[in-house]
Symmetry: C2
Subunit: 346 residues, 2 copies
DNA sequence: GTCGCCGATGTTAGCGCTTGCAGAGGCGTC
DNA sequence: GACGCCTCTGCAAGCGCTAACATCGGCGAC
């Protein structure tokens, strides 16, 4: 009985048979400090020892305990990233690119989704901070006071992405949604449309979409055009786009061009037009946002705005890595712009 | 000069002003052990102390250091999840549901994407294990030997999802893709189609799609129908579906019904048919897989197979939580089935 | 030849928690 | 009224690393 206890104890203590840095050190005939250095900054360890250590790591299939390392160094090679939704492929692509770039430098992403709620964002930020992350990346600029306070106190790089403006918490990488709306309004105006509409969904939560709408309406009106706004309460799905179009033609049958808050909505509108025999762009011009996958091949192909999805992720990763390594991270605020892609629909 | 050093030291030691459990303990007038217990198992601490501790935590805005906790307890409240792609909304929804459910119980997801590569999966598993996760969730059943070995050695719950079969590593939650293919073949046969086709993309990597195709072809041929397989090298995007359709009508102009490897591909095919004036389902029946957002509102609406996207996530979370808490986790292998949704396209 | 300096390695003291064990009351039982 | 037992709390020993500091040669400069 007494002989068994230590074994059970041992089992509890460290997984079943996971080796520790001390095991590697013993096998390589060095101290743990040297193993640690060989892992973190190989260049300061002599090639001979490095070789012996690598061999020992391989033989033992050693996997470092990042929690121990993180605790000792008071930071982790983790970046907390919060996007509104994972289902939406806008952000997915940004996250994929960012993740790949960071992973290449040994950093890991902890990804969460806020569901467009700043309360959920607050909870996520709190739980990420509990991991002493190397940085936090948030979508947008709208955060709770407590979130802001915690972020500031954490004293780590904070990136706000997918928007543009002044006085960010720390870094800001994105583009101006207001300008997107303006550009679409100008685009329609230039093509002679004078009765315009913006159709959006869940605009009370998706503030970026709302801002695109605001920019669109402001610019439309400034140029003397007539512009209406249709806001739907549902989530921005394909079906919602169809509903939006139905409301549009019913309430404002004379509208000549409509800016849908994103391509998913616009696709729904496209289908609904087809169903109702509304000629696009003949009778109604349509523009979306996102330049999603299908925009280039739908019938008709969809005029839209292409956001710098991948570039946002890449620039953030680069900026962050520069900060981590103490090199020049470049400007704190980066406006990456966007492209209006003119296709058949308008 | 000398007076400054300790301050800098202090700064390095523990963020700028992040409070520790010891601070909470002092303020509440208890030991850190009691604070720890109040956090982990509140029911074993007296209501009075619990109240004082909660108050102290609130006043100090205390956020526990999970790395310290994880190190001390040799485990973390983290679940590593690996999906092939984030862009694909199939998995996103599963992950969202699973994440919400787990978050409710205090567990966090570390999400990564393998890009359908088992080498990347191997690297991700290794880096997740370095965090002593409470469990690992993988997509599919195809893993490298080393991944398997590490998973087994880690001695934690492992879930393979989105597939079905025998002898899983540990738990398996999903459905049979082969059966999906069979069901679609039967569906087409029942409607009198005798010349069938499966069109897929990147089938060498997306093994689930390949299996749907295999099941489809096997069942078609078993029922005496003629069935061809078109495999495209590109990624499964909307445009790829169009390319697939073009090849299909060129190489096999007499095909009456086609099963596209997923809805995204099928949508591309739908557009291409429209462009070419091919009547759907009149001249060609089309079926997809996934029941994505647009399937119910496209023109024509898309016949497809609905996988239990959300249920997979929910069941995994429940099974895992049961394992964590030592209660009955239910069967290790769960076949959640699927629904064939008949719509206009076929 | 001696000195000092620098690069490579070892020593050691924690990082902030968790948890086994011990101790301290409080209460029911005989 | 003493005893045992149970509940609640404190004590203290780590968890597996990192990094500041100490140490030890070797080598160039004078």
């Amino acid at each position: 009985m007494t002989a068994v206890a230590p074994v059970a104890e041992e089992g509890r203590r460290r997984g079943l048979n996971r080796s520790r840095m001390a095991d590697v050190a013993r096998l390589a005939g060095v101290s743990t400090a040297t193993v640690s250095r060989a892992l973190r900054r190989p260049e300061i360890v002599s090639p001979e020892l490095r070789g012996r250590i690598d061999e020992a790591i391989r033989r033992l299939a050693y996997v470092p305990n990042l929690m121990a390392g993180g605790l000792a160094s008071a930071r982790s090679r983790t970046v907390g990233v919060i996007v509104p939704s994972l289902i939406n492929s806008f952000f997915s692509e940004t996250v994929e690119v960012m993740g790949e770039r960071l992973a290449g430098a040994g950093y890991q992403i902890m990804l969460g989704h806020s569901g467009y709620s700043i309360e959920r964002e607050e909870a996520l930020v709190a739980s990420y901070l509990a991991w002493s992350p190397a940085a936090i990346v948030l979508t947008g600029r709208h955060h709770s006071r407590l979130t802001l306070r915690r972020l500031l106190e954490a004293d780590i790089p904070v990136v706000e992405m997918w928007e543009h403006g002044e006085r960010p918490v720390d870094m800001l990488v994105g583009f101006s949604h207001r300008e997107v709306g303006r550009a679409v309004a100008r685009h329609f105006s230039e093509r002679g449309a004078r009765r315009l509409a913006f159709v959006g969904a869940a605009l009370d939560r998706d503030l970026r979409a709302a801002e695109r709408g605001d920019g669109f309406l402001a610019e439309s009106r400034a140029s003397g055009a007539q512009a209406v706004r249709i806001a739907l309460a549902d989530r921005p799905q394909v079906a919602t786009g169809g509903v939006g179009l139905a409301r549009l033609v019913q309430e404002h049958p004379d509208v000549e061009a409509a800016f849908f808050s994103n391509d998913v909505m616009a696709l729904g509108a496209l289908f609904e037009c087809q169903r109702r025999g509304i000629a696009v762009p003949g009778r109604l011009r349509l523009c979306g946002f996102g330049d999603l996958d299908f925009a280039g091949v739908s019938v008709p192909t969809l005029t839209t705005v292409r956001p710098p999805r991948r570039e946002i992720g890449q620039r953030i990763a680069e900026g962050l890595l520069a900060r981590f390594e103490g090199t020049d991270p470049g400007p704190a605020v980066l406006d990456l712009g966007f492209d209006l892609i003119e296709r058949e629909s308008g």
